[in-house]
Subunit: 239 residues, 2 copies
């Protein structure tokens, strides 16, 4: 139930703007699946699935290049201003973050393929799975917020990033403790830390996508504001 863009001087201009958003969402859905597979591969120790995740990278890159060209064409031919221009710039920036999420998913898959990777314990895998679920949810929701241009939803997701950062800190501390107690744990501990760090970075990218939605809807770049300041921007004009 997307909020379709309508009402421009030509139907084809409407169509072009909608196509930009649709293509971003298609690319986003692909990367979401890539991330889901990367987490699953790591948890299950499924090397074939990890290889698939790595191969998806090429398709993601092709999407990125195609969407960029589409957006530049709209700017050159349609002379967008105000909200339309913010939308195009928002799509251009978001594809960058979506592509980097794909890179991090690939990074997670590669941790499994590392020859020296020992299998983590059940408890360690549960920690990663829980953190992975939160990050996947953030990514899904951030794409929904973009689709619906829903600044309030975007703000709600921004707030979830704290939980992800908290998980990362916890996994980091746990693994450091294991590593200090038993040096044979060092390689495994580092692999788990890399995976947790990749998930934490994906949370940051999802946050960026949310900030772009607020930028498009509200006309203000909120990326360096405090949570309270972002709230004020989102609430503006809602009364």
């Amino acid at each position: 139930m997307m909020n379709k863009i309508t009402g421009h001087y030509s139907q084809s201009y409407d169509d072009e703007l909608n196509e930009a958003v649709d293509r971003l969402l298609t690319m986003g859905a692909l990367v979401e699946q890539q991330l889901r597979d990367a987490i699953k591969a790591f948890i299950k120790g499924d090397r074939d699935l990890a290889l698939e995740v790595i191969q998806t990278d090429r398709t993601v890159n092709t999407h990125e290049i195609g969407i960029e060209e589409h957006c530049l064409e709209i700017i050159a031919r349609r002379q967008p201003a105000a909200r339309d221009l913010r939308l195009i710039v928002g799509v251009l920036k978001s594809i960058n973050d979506v592509e980097r999420i794909g890179d991090q998913a690939e990074h997670i898959a590669k941790q499994l393929l590392d020859e020296e990777c020992q299998r983590p314990t059940e408890a360690q895998l549960e920690d990663i799975e829980m953190m992975g679920d939160k990050v996947l949810h953030m990514l899904q929701q951030s794409l929904s917020a973009f689709k619906e241009m829903d600044a309030a939803l975007a703000l709600a997701i921004l707030k979830q990033d704290k939980l992800v950062d908290h998980d990362y800190g916890r996994i980091l501390r746990h693994n450091l403790t294991y590593m200090l107690e038993d040096t044979r744990q060092i390689t495994r501990g580092l692999h788990l830390i890399w995976v947790a760090r990749a998930l934490e970075r994906i949370g940051d990218h999802a946050q960026n996508i949310c900030e772009f939605s607020i930028f498009i809807a509200k006309g203000q770049n909120v990326s360096h504001l405090t949570e309270e300041e972002v709230e004020a921007v989102v609430d503006k004009g809602r009364k």
Copy 2:
């Protein structure tokens, strides 16, 4: 000796495009200094300098917001096409990378301020210093390539990133060995790994800036091409 942009239908349009590039370079010079200070602070153990590095972050953010607004205004008012449009989009993307380089410099400074940070050995600090010099050089050169729109220089810098990745791999392996031999080295080893990783990421951002210069000069997004393919793009039209 910058290649000033001239020859548009109005002198003020020329000025606006030049201003966008000038402001990116000013922001770049600020972040370059921030990185130089961060490395120096870490090497010398200078906590006051590390605090300064962290405080510079606000100024960098203000630059980013201002340049973004300037670029959006140019798009809305001047309807740039072809190379001008690529230039504006290139500036918009580059400020993002420059800002992230600043974040990584801050990250390096924070490693020093961490309460548990033990002083590294002379040999360890020398490794970081050597890697830091390479990355600083890459950043300087990538800003020069942007200033001069010099695709050949940009390509030469892209090739340097391998050396930086190689340094990172070496520092990572060294520290893992130390950590395995002596668990008291784990906290220190991890701090050194984080610093090396931040430098490696800065190399990647400098690479992105080079790719944007090639995009502006040659009209093709080269970010997902192999080195040989990028060479072919840069050589195109030079014969």
